[in-house]
């Protein structure tokens, strides 16, 4: 374990008298703030003295994992971030890429795991609020959100409570602001029982020239707090998010729950875009994690300036708030703006129009200090650059856990206990991990803004860019079981699946954002997972030319010492040149030919089949990922779609080929069809039907176009063959192979697929789901 050197400290801060009434800074207090003795020594070196209570709070927040990326920064540096179409890479509020016709797309993913574990509704809602602000502070109008969720087993009432609350929270917030949800994912696995994951992604569109960033430029320019008032909510949320949860954690030790107000967010969104267009400001940033502290110091840092703030000027919701509280509050729906000197009233006028407040709380300085006053009396003075840049970063020891290696190399029990394959399909199709997620996205407005050309329910969502022929598509993906069993390969699979999902709707994969959800990195086996997963993401992104433009790290996802499955969620965006190429996963017509691209293999490790039929078993080698083959597959699918002859395209994911065929047959449920397929492969039935081999896509087309499409695949060196035909619904789903046969009635599959989640969630009004959040 080594720490970076402190970059040159310009000069030491002035002495600051302790503020009357503030606690004394003792070793114990330092430890409570999550700083190690070494880190504290470094703080004292930077300060040239003992920090005050307020200063300690500031360091604690800025040097938390959440803001400082102590344990992940060095790994993240290895990721590819460049491409000709990347306009802003990591380091900004969001990444930005060029999407053609003068448009740029800002996008990012963010986690709100810990808050959601405590209060699912507000935790999820404020998670969406935060990611929206990251997007519109770039000057982009949010055009779509996606949500990537993980929960424990739905048989637990607590899990149903969390799941129900999170979905309602994601929905209520985005619906009210008026941003369509276009996709996401959810996985239920015992590993997430105490520690659900709630990751939200947002896409925003702007003209290139509208880009603005969070920079506190121009010495003397005023800093203005804009939007909602500051309360005591979420104080130390950033530090809290960087600790493990514990079942018996004292309620009072938790930060006060942040409550979201999507109505204020909507006003703030409109006001911010108007402000940016007005030319009255030079920079804007969300007061997110670590609130005013991080926004002020980061904005100053990017400009190489200092800032001075007087907390007495900050509009507050409650009386008697201390500078410490005001600096670290994570009250929602607030922004920090650097206005041009003399334009303060113009800024106020715009905010007033939207019934919001804007107050000058400080100014940009030239001395490189982050200085905080209370009614003119200095309560904190910290050199800004070391505060934002010198957070110690660590490279830790990473060793794979023995038990994982054993699980991976285990002989899998699948062959001797095969359930009847027809029953297996009927059962898998109603697994909450595979069944339709309509119960979720039915609570999300998916069509507001009249641009949604691919709603949730398919492989990826898409929104068109009005006035052009283009659309942008997005998806989130990660199978934590694969990553658990083999972090590097599992992470590659996550990137590959995301790219596959995009090409299936006709989009060219362009760039990714990622959310690294892991356990406690101080444990060598967790650090190993993190290191290897980042390596896998990097490899896949290089292979697919989809650079990483940003992301988020959420570590310490453990409850009582038990870590979640490592879950590096990939949020990938792609571009559709012409909406005429949009493709869906649903078969279109009986009589169409069904083609399969990619090979079936004998890989069952990490599959939903194993989990479902072998008592929650997560074992074996997860399906391997051949990056070159994946790349060719993606190109082949896109080329096929560009011929205009493809009627549907759907990748094989959880549940394997049989599930993919059934899903394409069921479509959106309005006009289900049947399937008649024969698979000649010499494989055991479970692997053939339900194995989750990567790199496979099911395509349908008119009978007459089969040869033409097979040729396109051959040109790309991708194995492809015709496996059967789309049948009428009355013929059911019939898949022959491995010396046996699956036959299910379409209606039975549809019932299982579309009603599984609602029958669990609506039938059992555990405390939880009935508890209502809006009076």
């Amino acid at each position: 374990m080594t720490a970076l050197n402190v970059p040159g400290t310009p000069r030491l801060p002035a002495a600051v008298d302790p503020r009357p009434g503030d606690p004394e800074v003792t070793d114990e207090v330092v430890a409570d703030h999550g700083l190690s003795p070494d880190e504290y020594t470094k703080v004292k070196a930077i300060m040239g003295r003992t920090p005050t209570w307020t200063e300690l709070g500031v360091f604690s927040a800025m040097w938390s994992e959440h803001c400082g990326y102590k344990n992940s920064k060095r790994l993240l540096k290895t990721l590819p971030t460049q491409a000709p179409w990347v306009i802003k890479g990591p380091g900004e509020n969001a990444g930005v890429i060029d999407v053609g016709d003068g448009y740029a797309l800002a996008f990012k993913i963010e986690s709100h795991n810990h808050p959601s574990a405590v209060e699912p509704y507000q935790g999820a809602a404020t998670g969406v609020g935060g990611i929206l602000r990251d997007i519109f502070t770039m000057g982009a109008r949010p055009i779509a959100v996606l949500d990537s969720l993980r929960f424990g087993d739905l048989r637990s009432p607590r899990v149903r409570y969390l799941f129900g609350g999170v979905v309602k929270g994601v929905g209520d917030y985005g619906n009210c602001v008026g941003i369509p949800n276009i996709g996401g994912e959810v996985m239920f696995d015992a590993a997430y029982e105490g520690n659900p994951l709630v990751n939200a992604m947002c896409l925003g569109l702007m003209k290139h020239e509208d880009l603005i960033t969070g920079v506190a430029e121009g010495v003397g320019n005023p800093l203005m707090a804009v939007g909602a008032r500051t309360g005591r909510d979420g104080i130390h949320g950033a530090t809290f998010a960087s600790e493990e949860l514990s079942e018996d954690a004292d309620e009072s030790s938790r930060p006060m729950v942040q409550v979201g107000d999507p109505f204020t967010e909507k006003l703030l969104l409109e006001a911010s875009l108007e402000l940016i267009a007005s030319g009255h400001i030079t920079g804007i940033q969300d007061m997110g994690a670590a609130g005013l502290t991080s926004s002020a110091t980061e904005m100053a840092g990017r400009a190489g300036n200092g800032v001075e703030i007087d907390t007495a000027l900050v509009p507050v919701r409650e009386v008697g708030m201390t500078p410490y509280e005001i600096l670290l509050s994570e009250s929602q729906e607030r922004m920090l703006v650097t206005a041009k000197a003399g334009h303060e009233d113009d800024v106020r006028a715009i905010l007033e129009k939207w019934e919001l407040e804007a107050e000058v709380v400080g100014r940009v300085t030239d001395d490189g200090m982050f200085r905080v006053k209370e009614n003119g009396v200095t309560v904190a003075e910290i050199p800004n650059v070391p505060l934002t840049e010198a957070c110690p970063t660590y490279e830790r020891e990473g060793i794979e856990a023995l038990e994982v290696a054993e699980l991976r190399d285990r002989e899998l029990p699948v062959r001797d206990t095969l359930p009847d394959p027809s029953l297996a399909l009927l059962d898998l199709i109603r697994s909450p991990n595979i069944a339709s997620k309509r119960w979720i996205f039915g609570q999300y407005d998916t069509t507001v803004r009249t641009a949604t050309v691919r709603r949730p329910g398919g492989d990826a969502g898409a929104v068109r860019i009005r006035g052009t022929k283009r659309a942008v598509a997005a998806t989130t993906d990660c199978n934590g079981r694969y990553v658990y069993l083999d972090p590097r390969n599992g992470a590659r699979a996550a990137v590959a699946e995301a790219a596959r999902n995009l090409v299936c709707v006709g989009a060219l994969p362009t760039a990714i954002t990622n959310n690294l959800n892991f356990g406690n990195p101080l444990k060598p086996h967790i650090y190993y997972q993190l290191r290897e997963a980042v390596r896998g993401i990097g490899e896949a992104c290089r292979a697919f030319e989809t650079p990483v433009t940003g992301g988020n790290v959420s570590l310490f996802n453990e409850t009582d010492g038990k870590a979640i499955h490592p879950t590096p969620v990939i949020g990938m965006v792609g571009v559709i040149d012409d909406v005429a190429h949009l493709t869906g996963h649903a078969f279109r017509e009986a009589g169409d030919a069904i083609l399969q691209l990619g090979d079936n293999t004998d890989e069952m490790g990490g599959s939903e089949y194993l989990y479902r039929f072998h008592g929650g078993l997560v074992a074996g080698h997860p399906p391997s990922v051949d990056l070159l083959a994946e790349r060719s597959l993606q190109q082949a699918v896109l080329a096929m779609i560009h011929t205009g002859l493809v009627h549907s395209a759907h990748d094989c994911a959880e549940g394997g080929l049989a599930v993919a065929l059934a899903e394409s047959a069921l479509g959106e449920g309005d006009d289900p069809l049947g399937v008649d397929v024969e698979l000649p492969d010499a494989l055991p039935a479970p692997a053939l039907f339900f194995g989750e081999a990567q790199g496979r896509v099911v395509v349908s087309c008119a009978e007459a176009d089969v040869d033409r499409l097979l040729e396109v695949a051959a040109d790309h060196g991708v194995p492809a063959r015709r496996i059967g035909s789309v049948a009428p619904a009355s013929a059911g789903v019939r898949i022959r192979g491995a010396g046996t046969e699956i036959f299910c009635r379409t209606a039975s599959l549809a019932d299982g697929y579309f009603n599984a989640l609602s029958s669990i969630m609506d039938a059992a009004p555990a405390a939880a789901t009935a508890r209502d959040h809006t009076a």
């Binding site: 309620e251 729950v257 409550v259 508890r771």
Partner: protein, 87 residues
């Protein structure tokens, strides 16, 4: 056993933002009620149940609040009226 009418009030915890109260406060001001200073909005829940006596009815109501009606993380509750219903 008698029938009891119970009134319960569930309100956002002190210090917790109440966006609804804020919006109503704002609206009342624009409608001319400048003398209004604080508005908070919660739920008013009316329950009728059978219990041996008023004390037992109250105990049940409090249990319901703890288990279902109030969210302990964000809300306080109060069982403020227990009244025997006319037979």
């Amino acid at each position: 056993m008698s029938r009891y009418r119970i009134e319960i009030r569930v309100t956002p915890r002190k210090g917790i933002l109440d966006p609804q109260g804020k919006a109503i406060h704002h609206a009342l001001h624009s409608l001319g009620w400048a003398q209004v200073d604080d508005v908070r909005v919660g739920k008013a829940i009316h329950v009728e149940l059978d219990a041996d006596d008023a004390g037992a009815a109250r105990d049940e109501a409090e249990a319901m609040c703890r288990k279902l009606l109030a969210n302990p993380v964000t809300e306080d509750f109060e069982v403020y009226q227990v009244e025997e219903a006319g037979a």
